[in-house]
Symmetry: C2
Subunit: 438 residues, 2 copies
C-alpha cells in the first residue's frame, strides 16, 4: 500500500520531548506510515551526552553526538534542543539542504523567525512549529489555515502553564505568590530558575508568534510589551474574586482601530489582567492553556488543553511530522510565511484597555469629586466606583476606593495613575490591574 520511498527523519535532542517523539515514531511506525503515505525512518537522535539518563529509552544505535552529519540527507529534521544556538545554525542548514523542519523552539522563532522563514521560502521547504505555542493544542494550523479567510481581531491567550498554575493556586487557596511558586516548583510546574515563566518572557515569545500569524505581519519580540506576575499580591487576587474577576497572565494580540474603523496597526502584550468570572478563560485552571480568538466572521472561538508536557508536545510534533511527510509525498514547495499585511506595530501606550485602580484615600467630603476630576482631566471616564471605609491613620479617617475605568488608551490610564499617586487626598495606590475580556 505504501509506494513512496521511506522518508529519513532526524531528531535533534534527546530530552523529555525528544525521547517521547522518538519512542512514538518507532512504536507507531506502521500507523504513521499509513497516515503519511510514506514510511518514516528515524535515522538518528543527536544528543550532547550519549550516556545521559532519558525519560524513554532510545535504542543506543540511534544516538549520536554528530548532529551536523545527521542533518545531511535527512528529509525531515525535528529540532528539540531548545535555545538559540546551535539550534538556529542547524535549522538553517537543514532548510538549506531542502529538508522540512519541525521545531518546538518558541524562543528561536521569536528571535530569528524572519531569517528561518525566509530560508524555508527560498528553497521551498516548510518550517512547522505547532508545538511552539500551547503544547498539543492546535492553534498554529487553525490560525494559518482555518482562519485564513477571516480577519482576526483579537487573541487573548493563557499560554504559560506555570503562571496559570501559580495564579490559580493563589485564587483557590489564598496563597501568596512566593508560596504558590514554591508549590509549583515542588510539583514540577516550575523550573529551578522560573524567570522565563514568571517574568512573562515565555508568554511574550508566544505572543510574538501568534500576532505575526494572526495579523500577517512580522511582530518582533522586542515590540511585545511584557509584565510578569511577580508583583501580583494575594490581596489583589482576593479582591478580584470579590469583584467578580480572576487574575490571569494573558498574551494579548490585537488590531488597533482608528476612529474611522480603519486599522491603525497591531499590538502584542503580556501582562496580568482581571478576567470576568463569566469569561471562558476564567475557567482555565491549573497548568492548562487556552487561546481565545475573536474573528470578524467566525466570532469567538476557544482552543483549550493541557500545557506543554513532554507527551503533549510530542503529539503536536508528530502531527507536524505527518504533515511534512504528506507534503513530501505530494511534492511541491511548502506554504510560505504570510506577511503581506505588514501592518504598523503599535506600543502599548496606543492600546485601548481598562484599569481597575485601588486607592487608599483620605475619607473626607469632596474626595470622590477630586478623584473623579483627575480621571476626567486625563480624558478617562469611570465606569464604576466602590468605596469602603478604612482605618483611621494618624487621626485622619481613610477609605478604600476601587475604580474601574471605561476603555481608554494605556497612555492616558498610566498618566491618570501617576496623577492620582501625586494627589494629596491619595494615601496609597494599592493596586493597578488591567481588565480584559469584558
Amino acid at each position: 500500500m505504501i509506494e513512496y520511498r521511506n522518508l529519513r527523519v532526524a531528531v535533534l535532542g534527546g530530552g523529555s520531548v525528544g525521547s517521547q517523539v522518538t519512542a512514538l515514531l518507532l512504536e507507531h511506525a506502521d500507523e504513521l506510515a499509513a497516515r503519511a503515505g510514506a514510511g518514516l525512518e528515524v535515522v538518528g537522535v543527536a544528543v550532547r551526552d550519549l550516556d545521559a539518563p532519558r525519560d524513554t529509552d532510545i535504542p543506543k544505535e540511534l544516538l549520536t553526538t554528530d548532529a551536523e552529519s545527521l542533518i545531511v540527507g535527512a528529509d525531515i529534521v525535528i529540532e528539540l534542543i531548545g535555545g538559540l544556538e546551535p539550534a538556529r545554525t542547524w535549522i538553517l542548514k537543514a532548510l538549506h539542504s531542502g529538508a522540512d523542519v519541525i521545531t518546538a523552539n518558541k524562543a528561536l522563532l521569536a528571535h530569528h523567525g524572519a531569517e528561518l522563514f525566509e530560508e524555508a521560502a527560498q528553497v521551498g521547504a516548510q518550517l512547522y512549529y505547532e508545538a511552539a505555542v500551547a503544547g498539543a493544542i492546535p492553534i498554529i494550523r487553525p490560525l494559518r489555515d482555518s482562519l485564513a479567510g477571516d480577519r482576526v481581531q483579537r487573541i487573548l491567550g493563557i499560554v504559560n502553564g506555570t503562571t496559570n498554575f501559580i495564579l490559580d493556586r493563589m485564587d483557590v487557596t489564598g496563597d501568596s505568590f512566593d508560596n504558590a511558586l514554591a508549590e509549583a516548583t515542588r510539583l514540577g510546574f516550575a523550573e529551578a530558575d522560573p524567570t522565563a515563566d514568571i517574568e512573562g518572557y515565555d508568554a511574550a515569545q508566544k505572543a510574538a508568534l501568534l500576532a505575526s500569524l494572526a495579523f500577517h505581519t512580522r511582530v518582533p519580540l522586542d515590540a511585545v510589551h511584557r509584565e510578569g506576575i511577580t508583583t501580583v499580591t494575594a490581596d489583589q487576587v482576593v479582591a478580584a474574586r470579590k469583584a467578580g474577576y480572576v487574575v490571569k497572565l494573558l498574551a494579548i494580540c490585537e488590531r488597533v482601530l482608528n476612529a474611522d474603523g480603519g486599522i491603525d496597526g497591531v499590538s502584542a502584550r503580556v501582562h496580568p489582567a482581571l478576567v470576568p468570572l463569566t469569561h471562558p478563560l476564567a475557567a482555565v485552571h491549573g497548568g492548562n492553556n487556552a487561546v481565545f480568538v475573536e474573528a470578524e466572521a467566525a466570532g469567538s472561538l476557544m482552543f483549550y488543553g493541557a500545557g506543554a508536557g513532554g507527551l503533549e508536545t510530542a503529539s503536536a510534533v508528530l502531527g507536524d511530522v505527518v504533515s511534512a511527510a504528506r507534503r513530501h509525498v505530494i511534492g511541491g514547495p511548502g506554504v510560505a510565511e504570510s506577511t503581506h499585511a505588514d501592518l504598523p506595530i503599535l506600543p502599548i501606550s496606543r492600546v485601548l484597555t481598562r484599569y481597575q485602580i485601588t486607592l487608599t484615600v483620605v475619607d473626607e467630603p469632596g474626595v470622590l469629586a477630586t478623584i473623579a476630576a483627575v480621571f476626567s482631566d486625563h480624558g478617562v471616564s469611570v465606569e464604576a466606583v466602590n468605596q469602603t471605609v478604612g482605618a483611621v491613620i494618624e487621626g485622619v479617617p481613610s477609605a478604600t476606593l476601587i475604580t474601574v475605568s471605561h476603555e481608554a488608551t494605556d497612555e492616558s490610564l498610566a498618566a491618570t495613575v501617576a496623577a492620582l499617586a501625586d494627589n494629596s487626598v491619595v494615601r496609597e495606590v494599592v493596586s493597578v490591574l488591567r481588565v480584559e475580556g469584558l
Copy 2:
C-alpha cells in the same frame, strides 16, 4: 507580488451562507489573494431563482441558474445548496474536472462521502469540509492534520446548536421541551421543521464525519446510534442539576478496547446524556458548539465557538478556499482521505457507558436488596443510590430511587432497565439517561 494566474471560483447556492461567502470573496479580494498567493475571481453564483431576496446583495451579473456550465472550467467550486441531489452530481462533476471542492453539506458527506472522496483521490483533487461540522470552529483540520501523529480515543461533541439552545433553556428556566422549542423557533435557533435537529439526525451526520476522520475508518451514517431530545423532560433536567449534572445532546465517537487493551473497534452514537457540571462541556451555553477530544498523547483538548450561522460558516468556507488556492499555486494532488485503519464499527450495545436510572418503587423492607439483585444479575454494579420518600399510592407508600451505575455495556444496562420495569416492586421507570464525561 501575485504572479500566479487568477483562480476561477464558482459558488453553488445563493442562500444565507452562499451570499455571505460571495460578499466576503468580493469585498476582501485583495487580502485573500495576498494570503492565497493567487487572485480569486468569482465567476458566478448558481441559484434556483434569480430574483429571490438574499441576505447580502450579490451583483446581478454573477447570478446564473446554469450551475453545470459554471462548474466547467472552475478551479474551485463551493457547494452551498445543501441536500443530496443535485449537490452530489455537481460535486462529482467538479471533482472529475479537476476542481477542488469546498462544501458545508454534512448530510451529503455522511451519505455519499466514500464516493466523493474516492473521486477526489482519483483525480488528485481535494474535498474540503471544515464548515460541515461545528460552524467556524476549526475541527476537521485539527483532526486531520494536527492530531495525525496521535491516537484519538474519544470525542464528545456538542455539535448541534438548536438542541443545545433548547436543553440550556430548559436548564436555566425550567421550561418544558415544548416551550423551549417554541422559544428556539421564535429566536431563529430552530427551523420551521426542527426534526433534523431535535431527533438528532444532524448530530448523527456530524458524528459519522468526526468518527471517520478521528479513527481513519469509514463510519457510515447508518452505523451511528441516534436518539433525539424530544423525550427529555423538565423533571429530568431539574433532577440532573440537583445531582450535579446538566443534560446535553452529545455526539460520541470512541475506540472500544477489549480486556487486553487492544482495539475491538469504534463506535459513534448520538443521545442525550448527563454531563457533570465540572466538565468543560457543561459550560457550553445557548446555541454554541464545542468538541471535546481525548487523545493518547495530547490529553484532553476542547474546541469551542458559535454554531453554524451564515457568517460563521462563511469563515470556515473561506479558510478552505484559501487552502485550496494555496494548493493550486503549489501544485500536486490533495491529501487523500485516510481510512487505513479500517476498524470494525461496533453497535451501541457493545459500548461501555453508565446509566442514571430513576425509579418509583414500593417503599417496603427489602426493596433495595431486590433492586440491587436485578443489577447484579445483569453484571452491572451500582455506584450510587439515592432514595427519597414519595407519595402513598393506593394505600402503599412509595419511594424514588435514583441509581447511577458503574461502567457496563449498553446491552447489559438496557437489559437491566427492562428487568427493572418488569419487577413487581417497581411502580415506574421514571427516567433513564446515560452519564458521560466522568
